[in-house]
Symmetry: C2
Subunit: 188 residues, 2 copies
DNA sequence: GAGGCATATGCAAAGAGTTGCATAATCTAA
DNA sequence: TTAGATTATGCAACTCTTTGCATATGCCTC
């Protein structure tokens, strides 16, 4: 299970609470691994039981107390070993592409609308990643080794968003063509 | 659950057996939805129980008999309705990208090897999709409407593969740099 | 001071997907 | 003729993920 390893990866540099991890899974690492807070809290408890994480209660003023977790030596070791093993890919599943196999003049307007929403989401994500890149990764060759790995992951995210945006523009044009044809066919 | 709808989509034009569906989920539709034969056979039985598919036993010579499934009128109707609803995205999960967050001179050779394997897989898939495109989708504007939707999905697959291949080349160069540095550091 | 929001954590059930195993017919090649 | 590949279907256990619900603190605003 890589959720555990994704969590440990997020804890490489920082000691974080479940809540903070949940938020970070919504942004940077989240492009490659999504998880709900229920999953994360459970995984944290499991990992602590296995001795790969250690926790500390942190009382807070003005907010509920929290529990922060950090990697143990055993955790770092386990993570290193995991990296050397085979990777598992769970291909993304996206209803929208399946829906395109069902394209008709009837559903084209709906698909166009979904496409516009996607484009907005991808655009925001791309902007976020580009901000991060410009702020922290302008000179990848000068970065410490591990940061260069993160840079590559970030770059993959950026390229992916760009590709989807370009595709969406083409798809929108084609859908508009389908709709225009349907209108002129109805008028003749 | 969109697996059901992906199966129904695959049955829009053809009546197929579970075995044939399993294979088709390995290729064209499979870029957007992966499923094991166990999942598919179960889904087929469920969909038939719901009256969305109908089945027919087909005795075969030289091979075991098979059961082929086709959409019922209710199935076509349900599929059309599904297309008009909201789409769900399950972002892809890929160990390899998480591993890049753990990059070190120690694991760089392993990641390089995984990268090469990926590049080969993506290359083969890209070649497959390009063959399909050239054979059936050379003039998208001239295609019937639904085929144009399939063309767009295919195009998304092609673009995606191309992007990953380009990224993999960059990533390989960077990893080789990391490894070269490690060697020269050890020699000094 | 009541309602809404952000912080912070958790349980339980249901749904989706993976993994391992099992069966059986037929064809092909050693 | 026996071993392995291909076609064809299925069960059961397990893991992973989603969804719905629950609780509690403390802030800010109306």
């Amino acid at each position: 299970m890589a959720l555990n390893h994704a969590i440990m990866t997020a804890l490489l540099d920082d000691r974080l609470s479940g809540y903070e991890l949940t938020k970070s899974f919504d942004t940077s690492l989240g492009f490659f691994w999504k998880a709900s807070h229920q999953q994360i809290y459970k995984a944290l408890r499991d990992l602590e039981k296995q001795g790969l994480l250690e926790s500390e209660d942190v009382p807070q003023a003005g907010k509920p107390d929290k529990v922060i977790y950090g990697l143990t030596a055993a955790g770092r070791e386990a993570l290193e070993q995991w990296v050397l093993g085979d990777s598992r890919v769970t291909e993304s599943k996206d209803d929208m592409f399946v829906k395109f196999y069902n394209l008709s003049p009837n559903n084209a307007p709906h698909l166009l609308q979904e496409l516009v929403e996607r484009r907005e989401q991808d655009g925001m994500r791309l902007a976020l990643y580009q901000r991060i890149k410009e702020r922290h990764y302008t000179e990848p060759g000068a970065l410490p080794v591990r940061k260069r790995g993160i840079y590559l992951a970030l770059l993959a995210g950026i390229r992916h968003c760009e590709t989807r945006l370009a595709w969406a523009r083409e798809a929108e044009a084609l859908l508009q063509g389908v709709m225009a044809e349907a209108v002129s066919a109805a008028n003749s």
